[in-house]
């Protein structure tokens, strides 16, 4: 929804991404204007049940209150889970108080633990891990991992006489046995290997930090902030941000499949030069700009 750093510029909006996994929708960061961007790109805002806020710099959360009010006015009733560092609850509650509003739905706050790599969310299909990032405020990245998926039934070879229970067991990897416990069909004769379990990490904002490398090793897609070009490296060091080449270095060392860049400084009108610097280090690299969708094949 937004590729901009702290100051929006050239039509770029501050940080926000919508992650869709197995028909579940997660919002990661929610900079100013996120609700308008979600509408512009026809995203199903009412299907978002979990919002992860990396840190409390304004460009990462100032769109949240407007989104909450809009969900309220659109008669949302389902619980909404918010994951954030300390303070977001106070900020939201003060704004509800002075607008004399009681939301129609329940907000459930989950506090992030600074500096801790841990599972924040888990269901039967995926986990979301919090990743410690190195920034001026407590800051957490988010790693989405699909769990091992079921084996796929090979419909062409499936006998007609199996029960639903036996088919379910096949998906878990079990063989089909007869009443005496003897194998009637071997699992691998009737099933195909599971679809790939995909993974995606969102890392913004952060200084160059090799500690990330182990955590995100071999993931499919890494989003890593790239606020600056190499010639502004001193600014990156000073503000605890990264250059595009540093983002690429992390991607390379972690052997990720693809790298997406974002959080671009307002000083850059054109972004291709940032991409060029990153691609020298890691070629499978793209700009994550407003309205772009990246699909990870299963």
């Amino acid at each position: 929804m937004g590729s901009s750093g702290a100051v929006p510029a050239y039509g770029r909006f501050p940080s926000a991404q919508l992650i869709e996994i197995q028909n579940k929708h997660f919002l990661v960061d929610c900079g100013e204007g996120t609700q308008m961007q979600l509408m512009q790109y026809d995203c199903p805002i009412h299907r978002i049940n979990h919002i992860f806020i990396s840190h409390l710099h304004g460009d990462h959360y100032l769109g949240l209150m407007g989104l909450l009010f809009t969900l309220h006015l659109n008669h949302r009733v389902n619980d909404l889970h918010l994951y954030s560092h300390h303070g977001l609850d106070e900020i939201i509650i003060a704004q509800l108080k002075y607008s004399n509003s009681a939301l129609r739905f329940k907000l459930i706050f989950h506090m992030l633990n600074p500096g801790v790599h841990e599972i924040l969310y888990e269901d039967n299909q995926l986990t979301v891990e919090g990743i410690p990032l190195r920034h001026k405020l407590d800051c957490t990245g988010f790693l989405f991992r699909e769990k091992q998926k079921p084996r796929r039934i090979d419909k062409d070879r499936l006998p007609q006489d199996l029960t639903l229970q036996q088919i379910a067991a096949l998906k878990t990897g079990a063989d089909v046995e007869d009443e005496s416990g003897k194998i009637r069909y071997k699992n691998t004769d009737l099933t195909l290997s599971p679809r790939k379990s995909r993974s995606y990490a969102y890392c913004s904002d952060t200084a160059f930090d090799e500690n990330l490398v182990n955590i995100i090793q071999h993931i499919d897609v890494l989003y890593h902030e790239a606020t600056f070009m190499e010639r502004e490296k001193d600014k990156a060091v000073e503000t605890l941000h990264s250059t595009a080449a540093e983002a690429a270095t992390i991607a390379k060392h972690a052997n990720v499949g693809k790298l997406l860049l974002g959080h671009f400084s307002a000083r850059y009108k054109e972004l291709e030069p940032l991409l060029d610097e990153a691609r020298v280090v890691f070629s499978n690299c793209y700009l994550a700009c407003e309205g772009n969708t990246f699909t990870i094949d299963e």
Copy 2:
């Protein structure tokens, strides 16, 4: 900057207007995305020294924090005056606290008095009055009035031998006298009448309220919210908003020069029908949409 009601829709942004008077810039309301809109329309954001927030519903102030951070990051040092009902200071201070930010410039809070018609701002060229509006929260409209302007020197008839002091006196309406106190030149022989003192009122959000009429009598331009059409009048009554025809009725009874409509409900994709309903009552009426500029001639 924004013509939308509480829920942004169809590319419409929430409320905000930039008022320029005698090269001074005032921001009135500051809904989410206002800073991006100000940038898009090349407005000089660093020249805004006074921001008036009508009330603390999110669609009227949620863009303020982002604007403050951007001014800070752009190295603003001049004081910034904020006029608001009780609570905005707490909301801002909490957000500064959790972002660990100290603004480079001073914020000066001015508390609005609910239900009181009073002068909020005054300099040698204009006043800004607070106008009580009738809404679910304490809500104040803003009436900008230029003061009486100096008489204009008629350069074609100005004698060569006058001092700067005598010319300054002519502008105030005085005659030019000789040393004995006898009139040497009558003021009206050397000056033209002053340029017109212009006036503009911003009235959002409000139920239909005839009490407004006296306060805004004969002003040049009235902006009045027009959230609904007549067929949703029951919604207008319930939510303490106005219909377009009600806005026009106020304009007509107050004998204003021109009426601007805004704060349109997300239910309306097309806005011409609202304008049509208003024009039946008051013909000199326009939609105040994103990017529109309205100039009042002197």
